[in-house]
């Protein structure tokens, strides 16, 4: 759509409504036919005449993007995004019935979901009769587009679908009834959706919009997450007619949801500060979509209007991938696994250091099972390759990198390589670390330097290599640093180790504050006693005969019985919501609580000499 507010054409819907359609971007005619020596076109080489759409226009040779707006917007909500995308694509948007310059049905039944999906297909057929279109939709536009792509007879008309801030109502109905992400998230969504009940009441919402009260409230909500400073170009009819969308569809879809699936590739883009949607109700759609990706970006509900760059970046990458014809990623899950996970990590890229063993390796497997592509980083190349190989057998596309995290130049090179091959990662887990135990005064300088280099500088190098690109790309990513319960549980047994982990925890908490405004969350993981084999590889000093001590410590870890697989599951569940600290085992939880409630108890623990 150009900045012109006049529609370029009208498309007549199946029930006679007229939909205003806007287009922008290159419309390339095919090259002229070659001629012979006399300037005539040889008949045998006459090219077929270019196909024309229903209005006699030659459609573009490149892909067409079709944009569907939400409520209470009209097609002008896309102006900034269209300005970005029109340089490369034929971009079409239209005013949904009742909004903008489209006509409005007289009866509420004219707003039923099936009719809205039919409008979408009609516009797609009109603007790109010969090839499927790529859909981008926001809010209510996304709701109706979800309905269209999950209709078997329509799906072949759509090459891909990028959804911003709008679920399929049937999927949402299942999610609300079954609460796969917990009752807490259902309640959070219920609070955010409370306006739906208000919109369903007769007369009141109309009065709110006409009196200006509704507009003032909406202006406040639009500012959440750094929303648009430019006022929206909306007309009163946009506010009033669109209410029928809620009244005609919401109740029946939420109370009697049907099973709606699709083979159309879908990517969901979730703003970090969406006033109306929790992430889980959108990511859970992975249950119903063969090829699903989920990405977060910094912004509020109307970011498509104010800060479209992250959306444009994801759209370009997605469309180019689909147009390239590269094989679609398919997860190789058991029947149970397919039922177990939503899509919170689906289609994402996760870089994990120390991925050759222990929690790092198990977290790689866990995230791969949840749909992430893994870049497995370890100083032990065969171990990293093995991790990546198994991850790729769950979700294709993982790779391994042999990198020493203490080498900042190598980490910078790793980050550049990841960006080149995968794009900016959604998740970076600085996990590599080693154990050092024994009295601090008996530790060798070499051991101290090694533990500081790996445990602390490894995290610092990881953050410095990846955080800038994560900020620059529009936020939404997560950094996870593996600290330890030792960071708040001091002990005479592991002074040097505790120092490095306390530094990691302190860095993570400070960095969390620093990056909060930039849309990148930082989480510190404090595992506790996890039977990873860390003791076998730890440096011990001043603790008697090393192998005997290691046997005793290993037995302690084995008796504790907390496996790295279980730890990885806990960590993956926790980092979905981006908390500040993730204590994993019960002793990590208790230690954290005691460090806050009873410092004296912690001081006493530090003096205890275990019989090792």
């Amino acid at each position: 759509m150009s900045t012109s507010t006049r529609p370029h054409r009208y498309v007549t819907a199946t029930d006679g409504q007229r939909l205003a359609v806007y287009s922008a971007g290159p419309t390339r005619l095919p090259p002229p036919p070659s001629t012979d020596a006399h300037g005539a076109v040889p008949p045998t080489r006459l090219p077929p005449p270019p196909s024309r759409d229903a209005y006699g226009a030659v459609p573009p040779t490149g892909p067409t993007l079709l944009l569907v707006h939400g409520y209470p917007d009209n097609a002008t909500v896309w102006e900034s995004l269209v300005a970005d995308l029109a340089a490369d694509y034929h971009v079409v948007s239209y005013d949904v019935r009742g909004a903008g310059r489209s006509t409005a049905p007289d009866d509420r039944s004219g707003y039923l979901m099936d009719q809205l999906a039919d409008d979408l297909r009609t516009v797609a057929d009109s603007v790109s009769p010969d090839r499927p279109v790529h859909l981008i939709a926001h809010d209510w536009g996304s709701i109706q587009t979800w309905h269209a792509v999950t209709e078997a007879e329509h799906a072949h008309r759509f090459a891909s679908f990028t959804s911003v801030s709008g679920p399929n109502l049937d999927h949402a109905g299942h999610w609300l009834q079954q609460a796969p992400d917990g009752v807490r998230n259902v309640l959070r969504q219920a609070v955010r959706s409370s306006y739906i009940g208000f919109f369903s009441t007769p007369g009141l919402p109309e009065a709110a919009w006409l009196s200006g009260i509704g507009g003032a409230a909406l202006a406040g909500l639009e500012r959440i997450g750094g929303g648009p400073r430019v006022p929206a170009k909306r007309a009163t009819r946009d506010y009033l007619n669109g209410l029928e969308l809620y009244r005609a569809n919401m109740f029946r879809r939420f109370t009697r949801p049907t099973e709606r699936r699709t083979g159309v590739p879908v990517q969901v883009l979730a703003p970090t500060h969406d006033a109306f949607m929790v992430e889980q109700v959108q990511s859970n759609a992975a249950r119903w979509v063969e090829d699903f990706r989920f990405h977060r970006f910094k912004g509020g509900h109307w970011s498509v209007r104010s800060h479209p760059a992250p959306v444009a970046r994801r759209v370009r990458a997605f469309v180019e991938e689909i147009e390239s014809g590269s094989p679609r990623p398919t997860r190789n899950l058991t029947a149970q696994q397919a039922r177990r996970h939503g899509g919170a990590f689906a289609g994402q890229v996760a870089v994990i250091t120390g991925a050759g063993s222990g929690i790092g390796r198990c977290l790689a497997f866990e995230l791969a099972e949840r749909g992430a592509r893994i870049v497995a980083v370890d100083v032990n190349a065969p171990a990293a390759e093995r991790t990546a190989e198994l991850c790729s057998m769950i979700t294709p596309g993982s790779s391994a990198q042999r990198v020493d995290v203490t080498d900042s130049a190598a980490m910078d090179k790793l980050a550049a390589g990841v960006r080149e091959e995968y794009g900016v990662p959604d998740l970076v887990v600085n996990n590599a670390g080693i154990g050092v135990a024994g009295p601090f005064l008996e530790a060798s300088t070499e051991d101290l330097e090694r533990v500081i280099d790996i445990n602390l500088w490894g995290v610092i190098n990881g953050v410095r290599a990846f955080a800038p690109m994560m900020v620059e790309s529009g936020g939404g990513g997560r950094i996870v640093n593996t600290a330890s319960a030792a960071s708040y549980l001091p002990s005479r047994l592991y002074g040097a180790y505790s120092a490095t982990k306390a530094a990691v925890l302190g860095l993570s908490r400070s960095l969390r504050g620093e990056l909060a405004g930039k849309g990148v969350s930082v989480t510190a993981v404090c595992p506790g006693l996890i039977n990873t084999g860390i003791i076998s590889n730890a440096r011990l000093s001043g603790m008697g005969e090393v192998s005997g001590t290691k046997d005793k410590l290993n037995r302690l870890y084995r008796l504790r019985g907390y496996t790295p697989e279980k730890a990885a599951r806990r960590i993956a569940n926790a980092i979905e919501s981006g908390p500040e600290i993730v204590p994993v085992t019960s002793e990590a939880h208790i230690g954290l609580a005691l460090s806050r409630l009873s410092p004296a108890a912690i001081r006493g623990y530090a003096r205890v000499a275990p019989p090792i």
Binding site: I359, R361, F365, A486, P527, G533
Partner: protein, 303 residues
């Protein structure tokens, strides 16, 4: 082995042939039932089919009645009490792994086998099955070298970790990877208690008492009681590896003599399968994979 022969006499060739024949019969039963499994069948139904198949072919008693595990139960996920080993009403679905495990007794001879399969196709399941091959070679080589059972157990554990999997035989009662078997000689009636034949249990407990007196155990695990080389006789060995929701195992008899160790039979479904596949990765070579210590690996740090 029978506790009357704690000095470790090896069975005669005729007896070995009888054990081999019964093991073949048990694997044939598992293979036939596996081929008959369809979506919707329950673990109980699958176990019943194995039982009927073998009873129709002369099996009179059981060391333990047939087990069937579907889905993540093949990896014993969230198993906390022994009752969870018994077949349930869980239904098999397309895309589910399964394991059939049975231990028939015929004319006093015992077999104890485990058969892993998958309903549909899954490269990951194939990979786990391929990687089991290294464990079969590792075990026999380590036993042949005279290592203690405890050390062999730990070597298997290390290889499992190196491969990226986790040890699931540690979930069995006693964490056993193997147990001794021998001819069942008992005057007790044929009866099943909690899934185990009481005549076989009597033999096993007898062995347990006598072996303990010699500071050994007929149960092979990683405790200090297994810190001795394998006692000559026959051991039913069952390395069981797990990855996510998939568990795979084999179980077959290892014959240990005073100076050697060998598998009773190489003509078994999993061995045949390996010989038909081209294997080239970790733990899938014809010789046991070297057990590298991941000393240089950067482990996740924990308290």
């Amino acid at each position: 082995m029978s506790h009357k022969k704690v000095t470790g006499n090896t069975a005669s060739q005729a007896e070995l042939d009888a054990f081999r024949e019964l093991q073949q019969l048990a694997y044939q039963a598992a293979s036939d039932v596996a081929a008959s499994l369809e979506p919707g069948v329950t673990e109980r139904e699958a176990a019943r089919r194995v039982r009927e198949h073998l009873e129709a072919r002369g099996v009179q008693d059981w060391f333990h009645t047939p087990f069937a595990w579907f889905g993540d139960r093949t990896a014993f996920r969230d198993f906390r009490v022994p009752l969870q080993f018994f077949p349930t009403r869980r239904r098999l679905e397309e895309g589910m792994p399964f394991i059939l495990d049975c231990a028939p007794v015929r004319d006093g001879y015992v077999a104890d086998i485990g058969y892993s399969g998958y309903l549909g196709e899954n490269p990951l399941h194939d990979r786990l099955m391929d990687d089991l091959r290294a464990h079969r070679r590792l075990i026999v080589e380590k036993v042949r070298e005279g290592n203690t059972l405890q050390d062999v157990y730990r070597a298997v554990d290390a290889l499992i970790r190196e491969q990226g999997y986790d040890n699931r035989h540690q979930v069995y009662p006693g964490r056993v990877i193997a147990h001794q078997v021998g001819k069942v000689e008992s005057r007790l009636p044929k009866a099943i208690v909690a899934g185990f034949g009481i005549r076989s249990l009597q033999t096993l407990f007898g062995d347990l008492i006598v072996e303990r007196a010699h500071h050994r155990s007929p149960l092979w695990a990683d405790g200090d009681i297994s810190a001795h080389p394998a006692t000559p006789g026959m051991w039913a060995v069952e390395p069981h590896i797990g990855f996510r929701d998939i568990g795979v195992k084999f179980e077959e008899i290892l014959v240990v003599t005073s100076d050697d160790a060998y598998w009773l039979d190489d003509d078994l479904p999993h061995v045949t399968r390996w010989s038909q596949r081209t294997l080239s990765d970790v733990g899938s070579k014809d010789t046991a994979a070297p057990l590298t210590t991941v000393g240089a690996s950067e482990e996740t740090a924990t308290v």
